[in-house]
Symmetry: C2
Subunit: 238 residues, 2 copies
């Protein structure tokens, strides 16, 4: 028998999805209690994984010296990244806050060991990359749980992973998937900061849809589906 | 101001996380209404993405001929995969139901175009793989929304992606991330089928945790966090 969700439980899921933000500003000074951190990590650990491989690992980072070292690596990478832009785009880039490595309560580095034999290779003969994908699903589970707890998460990808590997002693066979900043926040913005600051805009859902084959678009059907989805979005964004 | 979740909304998020299953059996014969499919796709589309790149696309597949062709590719790959196991493990493998390509209401192939310029490369200089990861986050968003809707999702990775590319006309520069089977189900199992059928067991959360550096384990702290996480799991699994 299917255990149904009540309307309010279902609304909770959509709220987490639509009100989740990639948070870099607004982190509060207060610490993240262990029970909240534990619930977020456990949510991540209950992600789907290919062959029930569970290839993810979590490095919980609080040491200020390590965080300062990671921050320096971010600063280096961010300086080089900024140099790729010119004119107005460059000015826009420089207004963006793209990390909260030191300002957030705790950092979590998510890794994946694709060489692990757990799961006995099931599902990985044809698509071995699904080991990595499982670890990414864990991140998204944790991110949504965090939103439900009022905790912000920011994913920092502007770091040379080789530098991160060195600082965190990550062995060569282990893949660094993500470096996350977590903590209570004073605010969740209603729209992504990259949209409000004019960096990029949301794509209409209809433009992401193909039918039966790639490239077979059906504007009327795609727009009908996009319109039908609005109820959940509005409910989530309340 | 942070818009808090009520206890019931938060419970909904944890229920979705803990009661989500990779579903291959128990698909019901009834169709999936467009409004439900639309809400699931929109949830996926509201995933985080590097630089707000939104690199995902969704091929919604209902055509029986295409699904039959995909099923044949699964059968080929599954036969080859089975041959890698021997003895008891082989017998166990053969009891597993690993797809519902034809039995489910609708299939969705999730793709990612890592060459898209949307997002202006932000966050992708140092870790270009985050484009792919964004598409995986979209899958997990959709998976949890589906659970809240009473809809099962099964991720089929036992297919040669080259075969899938041919059947679905996916261009070479577009990455095939996942082939998903969706539909209402008659049951969500309380534990993953790979656990109940003795293929693989759940790893204790404590074993996935490192502190400050990879390899720096702290058994007492890890077990304390694992114990603290129990409340959410029990609430989710009710």
């Amino acid at each position: 028998m299917v255990s149904r969700f009540s309307d309010v439980e279902r609304r909770g899921v959509y709220r987490a999805i639509y009100e989740r933000r990639d948070v870099r500003s607004h982190f509060a000074a207060e610490p993240l209690p262990d029970d909240v951190l534990a619930r977020i990590l456990s949510a991540a650990h209950h992600a789907p994984s290919v062959g029930f491989m569970q290839p993810w690992e979590f490095i919980v980072i609080t040491d200020p010296a390590i965080r300062a070292a990671v921050k320096r690596r971010f600063d280096d990478a961010n300086r080089r990244a900024a140099e790729l832009y010119a004119g107005d785009r460059r000015r826009r880039y420089e207004t963006l806050k793209l990390e909260a490595i030191v300002a957030s309560a705790v950092n979590v580095c998510v890794t994946c060991d694709p060489t692990a034999t757990r799961g006995h290779g099931l599902g990985r003969q044809t698509m071995p990359e699904t080991a990595i994908y499982s670890a990414v699903c864990a991140i998204q589970n944790g991110w949504l749980a965090a939103r439900a707890e009022g905790v912000g998460v920011g994913w920092v990808s502007i770091i040379d992973p080789r530098g991160l590997r060195q600082i965190l002693d990550v062995p060569d066979h282990v893949v660094i998937i993500a470096y996350l900043c977590l903590g209570y926040v004073t605010d969740f913005e209603t729209e992504p900061e990259l949209a409000t600051k004019g960096w990029e805009q949301r794509v209409p859902l209809a433009e992401t849809l193909h039918f039966d084959r790639y490239g077979r678009v059906d504007g009327a059907r795609a727009r009908a589906l996009a319109t039908l989805s609005e109820a959940a979005r509005i409910e989530g964004a309340r």
